[in-house]
């Protein structure tokens, strides 16, 4: 128990340090790398909270793919972030207000992992008890994701499909046009 708390505190402290470093650093490559580290720490936190499925996803998407795509975007722009010309008062007010509202919201959240939390009392007991008979898959997460919530996952798959098509339409088409116009100019 003490070990888990120690790991929690260590991960959260590193998360805070990474967040502050992200604010200070102006070299965008370093910012992208720190973003990856931030995701990796989040993945660690998910693992501590007994959500290995989410942790794997976070590690693969947040650390791997997102970092690579951002590095790819960096090859198209400058490496240094330009100092902002705008006043910092308004963003500060917005951040403080949002932070205050979130903290106020957290006060109402039931303690983590309590047996009588709403999340444990709604459909979860039914899934856990009937899954063995109805689905017969060892991993309940898979049973919920692919069978009980099959519609939702079909929707998610379609969203990913649509996102892929959208990016292809936006990026592939323009590249050809630009290559054509460069030839015209030369």
């Amino acid at each position: 128990m003490i070990l888990t708390e120690f790991v929690d505190i260590a991960l959260l402290a590193l998360l805070a340090i990474t967040g502050l470093a992200l604010l200070k650093i102006r070299d965008l490559v370093a910012v992208v790398m720190l973003g990856g580290i931030y995701s990796l720490l989040c993945a660690g936190l998910f693992l501590v909270m007994d959500a290995p499925d989410v942790a794997i996803t976070e590690a693969a998407v947040g650390v791997g793919i997102a970092t690579v795509l951002l590095v790819g975007a960096l090859t198209l722009i400058e490496r240094e972030e330009r100092p902002s010309q705008h006043s910092r008062a308004l963003p500060l007010v917005v951040v403080l207000f949002t932070g205050a509202m979130l903290t106020y919201g957290i006060l109402d959240v039931p303690p983590f992992g309590e047996a009588d939390n709403p999340v444990q009392e709604h459909v979860t007991p039914r899934y856990l008890e009937e899954q063995e008979e109805e689905i017969g898959v060892e991993n309940v997460v898979t049973a919920v994701l692919a069978s009980y919530r099959g519609y939702d996952t079909l929707g998610e798959t379609t969203v990913i499909f649509a996102a892929g098509i959208g990016v292809l339409l936006l990026l592939s088409g323009r590249k050809e046009r630009r290559a054509g116009s460069e030839e015209d100019a030369s």
Binding site: L145, Y151, T158
Partner: protein
């Protein structure tokens, strides 16, 4: 392509293991953490690593962009197709019990197939997006 020998050899060692791990995450999803979504991303990450070290051109020689588009579309088609098949077999949409006589077998087949569909779509979308980004001004 990177001239760095260490990077190239390390990539050669890592890539097959990443693909193997992706397949493990995919097909072990019934028993442990993982499934189509995670496996698709890990599989795409293997190709991304290969492209970062060996260059986009060589990677597209191994895995042409068109395959990514086909994979993306066929995954969503496969998933929705399972729903249609269960409808034709007399069940509800995506009611895997209709797929086999024993409902446990039906659920297993249904989950296996839709997870395969998720894998194909996620992998195809990720690799297509990566190709689209990297192709604008090569990462080579």
């Amino acid at each position: 392509m990177s001239r760095n020998v260490i990077l190239r050899i390390a990539t050669k060692v890592l890539c097959p293991n990443i693909f193997l791990f992706a397949l493990y995450v995919q097909f072990h999803g019934d028993y442990g953490p993982g499934g189509g979504f995670q496996a698709g991303v890990i599989m795409a990450a293997g190709f991304v690593l290969y492209a970062l070290v060996y260059g986009l051109e060589r990677t597209q020689g191994v895995f042409p962009p068109l395959w990514g588009h086909v994979s993306m579309a066929s995954g969503a088609f496969l998933y929705a197709g399972v729903g249609v098949v269960t409808l034709l077999l007399g069940g509800n949409f995506l009611d895997y019990n209709a797929l086999a006589v024993d409902h446990h077998d039906g659920q297993h087949w249904g989950i296996f197939t839709v997870e395969l569909g998720v894998l194909l779509t996620v992998f195809g979308a990720m690799i297509s997006i990566f190709y689209a980004f990297a192709g604008r001004r090569g990462l080579d």
